[in-house]
Amino acid sequence: MLSFVEHLPLLIVVSSIISSITILIAGWINRKSAWYISTATILGQFISSIIILNHILKFGKIHYRLGGWVPPWGIEYVMDELNAYILIILLFLALLCIIYSKRNIEHELPEKVVSFYTIYQLLITGLCGVVVTGDIFNMYVFIEIFSLSAYALIASRGKISLRASFTYLVLGSIGACFFLIGIGFLYAITGSLNIHDLSILLPPFYTNRVIIASFVFILVGLSIKMALFPLHTWLPDAHAFAPSEISAMLSGIIIEVSTYAFIRVSFSVFTFKFLKILPVMEILSWIASLAIIFGSIWAISQTNLKRMLAYSSVANMGYIILALSLSLSSKTSPWGGLTPALMHIANHALMKGCLFLTAGAFIYKSNLWFINDFYQLGKRMPYTSGAFVVSAISMIGIPPSVGFVSKLYIILASIEAKRFIFVGILLLSSLLNLIYFWRVIETMYMKTGNHKGNSFPSPFPKDEIPIAMLIPIWILAVLCILMGIFWLAKIPMPILDRINLLFGLSQKL
C-alpha cells in the first residue's frame, strides 16, 4: 500500500492537466476565475513538491507504477533528489510568474486571458511531466507537450512574435525529432524504454555504434531545446517577444528542464562510465566556452533589453554546460560533480526570472523596450529599478550574490580539473557581463541627457507598477542575495551531495 506522499508525483501531473481543462470551462463562464484556479493549482503543486523532497530525503526514492503495470512494460514515475530539486525550482518560479501575470496579462492580452492560463497550465504539466517521469519515451511526450504550449504562449502577442514562435516551432520540432530518433535507436538495441532498466541493459553495448549514434542524436536534439550555442538561434526572438512572464519561464525554467533531461539521459541512462568512453564532455566544455563568450558579446551589441537578456541566457546556458562538462573530473565536495551545474540552474532561474520580470514591468508601465529610453527610471520606478540593480549585480557576480557563488564554484571545479583556460573564460565573461549590465544601470540612474546633448525633462513623477507585480520581483531579488549566503553556508548542499552520490560522481565512492 502506497502512502499518500508516494501518490504525489502522479498527482502533480494529473492535477495540472485537469486544472488546465477546468480553466477552459470555468473561464468560459467567468473569465476572472482562470487566474485563481491556475494559481491555486500551482501553489498546491509547489507545496507537494516540497513534501516530496522531504519524503525522499527521509525515506529514499519514490517509485510509482502507472496503472499497476510492472516497470519495464508499464510507465513508471521515479522521484529521486535530482527530480525533486528541479521540480521545486520549476514550480517556485512558475508560482511567482503567475502571481506577476495577473495584472500583466490583463494589461497585455485582455482578450486572451482564459486561453493564456489554459496553455500556461499545460506548459507546467509538460515541465512537471518531464521531471517526474522515469520512462524515456514518456519524457519525449512531455517535452512535446511543454514545447507546443511554449510555441503557443510565445505567439500570443501576435505580429512579430508569430515569426519568433514559428522559428522556435521549426527548430524545436527538429530537436524533438532527433531526440525521438535517439530513443528509437536505444529501443532497437535494448528493447526497453524504462530509464532504470536501460541503465542495466546498456553497459555491454557501450561501444556499439548504434548506441553511440543514439547518444549523439539525443545530445543534438536536446541541445536545440536547451539553446546551446550554436543551436540557440530560436532563443533571442522567442525570449524577446513573448509576454514577460513567459520570457522568464523560457529563460529560467524551460531551457533548464531540457538540461535536466540531458543530465538524466547522460547520467542515469548512459552513466558516467559511458561518458568517459567518448570525448563528449571535452567537446561540450569547448562549445560551452564559445557560448559564454559569444553570448556575452552578442548581448553587448543589443539595444533591446529583453533581447540582451536573451543572449545573456545563451551565455548562462554555457555556464551550466561548462559546469556539467567538468563534473566528471572534479570530485571534491562541495564543488565536485554536478553541484555547480545544478546550483547554477537554480541561481540562473532566480536571476533571470527577476530580470525578465523587471523588463516586463518597464514594458507594462511605459512600453519601454530599448535601453536608451531607460533614462531616469531610477526615479520613475525606484522599486523596480532597485530590483533590477540587485539582480544585475548578481549576474555580474559581485559577492555575496548567487552569481558570485556559481562563478566561484565553477572556477574551483575547473582548477581541480586542471583546466585553467576555463578560469580565464569565466572571469572574462564576468567582465563582459559587467559591460552590458552596467550600461543599463548607468542609463537608469546616472544619465541626465541623451547622446545629442539634450537634457531630459525633470522632475519625473514616481510611477510604480502594481504591488502584485512588485512582490514576485522583490522576492526574486532578495533571494538573489539570500540564496548566495545560503549556498555559502551550505544549507542546500546535502541534497546536491546525495545527487552526486546517486550518479557515482562523489568522492566517497
Binding site: 559581485i398 555575496p400 580565464g424 548607468e442 546616472m446
Partner: protein, 514 residues
C-alpha cells in the same frame, strides 16, 4: 601561544555602517535625521573598533566567524590582528570627521541626490572596514568588491558626461582587477587549501614551483589595482570628479588603502617574508614601486587642478607604502604600516582644504588661487601643515614614516633605495611648494581686477575679506580640517595616540615570530 578571543565586536563594527545605510534610505525625506544616522554610526563604529585595541596590543586576536567552512578550510568571518585593526581605526576615525565635513560641503553646494550619496558612503565604509577586519582572502574579496561597487555612484555623482566616463573607467579598472584577484585567490586556495592570513605566510616554497609562485604574485599585484600603482593609476585622477569628501576619504584612505592593505597582506601574511626573500620578490616590488613614487610626483608637478595634483601625490605616496613593504626589513615594514594612518591624516587634511576652497570661493585650479591664503588663513595654514608633512618635515606625521622607510632602506642594504626615497621626498616639495607660494605670497594680477569689474574681485585685492566667515556652513568644514591638521602634528609627537604605534609594534612582533 597566540590567544584568540571570540567576540562579536568586529560584527558590531561592521553592522554600524550597514544599518546606517538602511536607515539613511528610510529617512531620505528628513535630511537632519539622515545625517545624524551617519554621525551616530561613525562614532559607534569607532568606539567598537577602538575597544578592540587594548586586547590586540596585548598580543591577542579577536575573531568571529559567521559561516564555517564556506569552502573546506575557509571560514567566512573576521579575525582582527594588529595590522587590520590599524587600517580599520584609520578609516573609521576619519569617517567621523568626513561625515561632519560632508554635511557642510553637500549643503553649502546644494548637491543633488544627497540620500544616494550618504547611502553609498556608508556602504563603502562597510566594505572598507570589512576588508580591514577580514580573516582570510575570501572574506576580504567579498568586501573588496562591495567597496568597488558602492563607490561607483559616488564617483559618477555629478552625472555629467565627464563624470559618467570617470565612473566607467573606475569600474573598468577596479572590477577587472577584482577578476584577477579572484583568480589569484582561487589559485592560492587550490595550492595550499587555505586562505587564512598567517604571520609566517601560507605559501611554502618547498612543494611549489617557483614560476607558479611568481605568476601568482603577478595575479595578486594585478588584483590590487586599487593601490593605483603605475601604469594602472589613471582611474584615480579621473575619479577626482567626485565630491571632495569622497575624494578625501575614499580616494585617499578607504579605497586606495584597501589596495595597499591587500598588497601588505599578500606580501607579509600570504607569502611571508622568508618566502619573499627566497624568491627575491622584495627588491622587485620595491623597484617597481619606486617607478611610481618618482613618476607620479613628476606628473603631479604638471597638474593645475588642485585635486588632480593631490591625486597624483596620493599615487606617489601609496607607492611609498608598497616600497616599504618590499624592503622586507622590520623598519621598512614599520614605515609602510605607519604611513597608512599618517598619510591618511595628512592627505585628508589637504583634500578637505581643497574642498573648503571650492565651497568658499568656487576655485579649483591652483593658478586661480593667488592670495587665497589671506582670504582663508585657517584653511591654508592647515593645508601648509599637511603639505609639509607630506614632504617629511618634522614635527609632522610624514616625518616619522619617511624616517622609518629610510631606516628600512639602509637595513635592506640597498643604498640606492635610500636615494630614491630622498629624491621622491624632494619631488614632494617641488609640487607642494608652488601651491603654498601662490596661496600666500602671490598678489592677484592687476589686469584680472581691471578686466572683471565685479565688486567682489575688487574687494578681494585689498583688504581681503575673510571668505571663511562669509559662508554660514563653514564651521562644519573647518572643524574637521582643524582636527586632522592638529592630529597630524600630535601623532608625530605622541605616536602612541589611538594605539597607532603599539599596534604596529605588535604587528611587527607577530611577523618576526616573537
Amino acid at each position: 601561544m597566540i590567544e584568540t578571543i571570540p567576540s562579536i565586536k568586529p560584527i558590531l563594527a561592521i553592522l554600524c555602517p550597514a544599518l546606517a545605510s538602511i536607515l539613511i534610505l528610510l529617512s531620505s525625506k528628513r535630511p537632519n535625521l539622515r545625517e545624524s544616522w551617519t554621525l551616530i554610526a561613525s562614532i559607534l563604529q569607532f568606539i567598537f573598533i577602538l575597544s578592540m585595541a587594548p586586547l590586540i596590543t596585548n598580543g591577542k586576536f579577536v575573531e568571529y566567524y559567521l559561516l564555517l567552512d564556506v569552502i573546506p578550510g575557509v571560514n567566512f568571518g573576521f579575525r582582527v590582528d594588529a595590522f587590520g585593526l590599524l587600517f580599520a581605526l584609520t578609516a573609521s576615525f576619519l569617517w567621523i570627521l568626513v561625515s561632519l565635513y560632508s554635511i557642510g560641503y553637500m549643503r553649502a553646494l546644494k548637491e543633488h541626490a544627497q540620500t544616494r550619496y550618504y547611502f553609498c558612503f556608508a556602504l563603502a565604509i562597510f566594505g572598507a572596514i570589512g576588508v580591514a577586519l577580514s580573516g582570510n582572502l575570501v572574506t576580504l574579496f567579498v568586501f573588496y568588491e562591495i567597496l568597488t561597487i558602492s563607490t561607483y555612484p559616488l564617483v559618477a555623482h555629478e552625472q555629467s558626461q565627464e563624470a559618467l566616463f570617470a565612473g566607467r573607467k573606475y569600474l573598468a579598472y577596479l572590477l577587472t582587477s577584482g577578476v584577477f584577484l579572484l583568480a589569484a585567490i582561487a589559485l592560492t586556495y587550490s595550492l595550499v587549501g587555505t586562505t587564512d592570513f598567517m604571520p609566517s605566510g601560507i605559501l611554502k616554497s618547498s612543494f611549489l614551483h617557483r614560476s607558479t609562485l611568481l605568476i601568482l604574485f603577478l595575479l595578486f599585484l594585478l588584483g590590487s589595482m586599487k593601490a593605483a600603482y603605475m601604469p594602472f593609476h589613471s582611474w584615480l585622477p579621473s575619479a577626482m570628479i567626485a565630491p571632495t569628501p569622497v575624494s578625501a576619504l575614499l580616494h585617499a584612505v578607504a579605497v586606495v588603502k584597501a589596495g595597499v592593505f591587500l598588497i601588505v597582506r599578500v606580501v607579509c601574511y600570504v607569502y611571508g617574508i622568508d618566502l619573499m626573500r627566497e624568491l627575491n620578490l622584495g627588491v622587485l616590488l620595491s623597484s617597481f614601486a619606486a617607478i611610481t613614487m618618482i613618476g607620479a610626483s613628476l606628473f603631479a608637478i604638471a597638474q593645475d587642478n588642485l585635486k588632480r595634483r593631490l591625486a597624483y601625490s596620493t599615487i606617489s605616496q601609496l607607492s611609498f607604502i608598497i616600497f616599504g613593504v618590499g624592503l622586507l626589513t622590520p623598519m621598512g615594514i614599520t614605515g609602510a604600516m605607519i604611513h597608512i594612518p599618517f598619510h591618511g591624516l595628512m592627505k585628508i587634511t589637504l583634500f578637505l582644504c581643497a574642498g573648503a576652497i571650492l565651497v568658499a570661493s568656487g576655485k579649483t585650479e591652483i593658478s586661480e588661487m593667488a592670495g587665497i591664503g589671506r582670504a582663508m588663513p585657517l584653511t591654508m595654514i592647515a593645508f601648509t601643515i599637511g603639505a609639509l608633512g607630506m614632504c617629511g618635515a618634522p614635527p609632522i606625521a610624514g616625518f616619522i614614516s619617511k624616517w622609518y622607510l629610510s631606516l628600512g632602506a639602509i637595513q635592506s642594504g640597498y643604498w640606492a633605495f635610500l636615494a630614491l626615497i630622498l629624491i621622491a621626498s624632494l619631488l614632494d616639495v617641488v609640487y607642494f611648494y608652488p601651491i603654498i607660494r601662490t596661496a600666500f605670497f602671490e598678489k592677484i594680477p592687476k589686469n584680472e581686477v581691471l578686466e572683471e569689474k565685479e565688486p567682489k574681485v575688487q574687494l578681494f585685492s585689498e583688504p581681503p575679506p575673510s571668505l571663511e566667515r562669509e559662508q554660514p556652513l563653514f564651521v562644519f568644514l573647518i572643524i574637521p580640517i582643524g582636527i586632522t591638521a592638529i592630529l597630524s602634528i600630535l601623532v608625530c609627537l605622541f605616536p602612541n595616540l589611538f594605539y597607532i604605534y603599539p599596534l604596529i609594534q605588535r604587528a611587527i612582533q607577530n611577523l618576526s615570530g616573537g
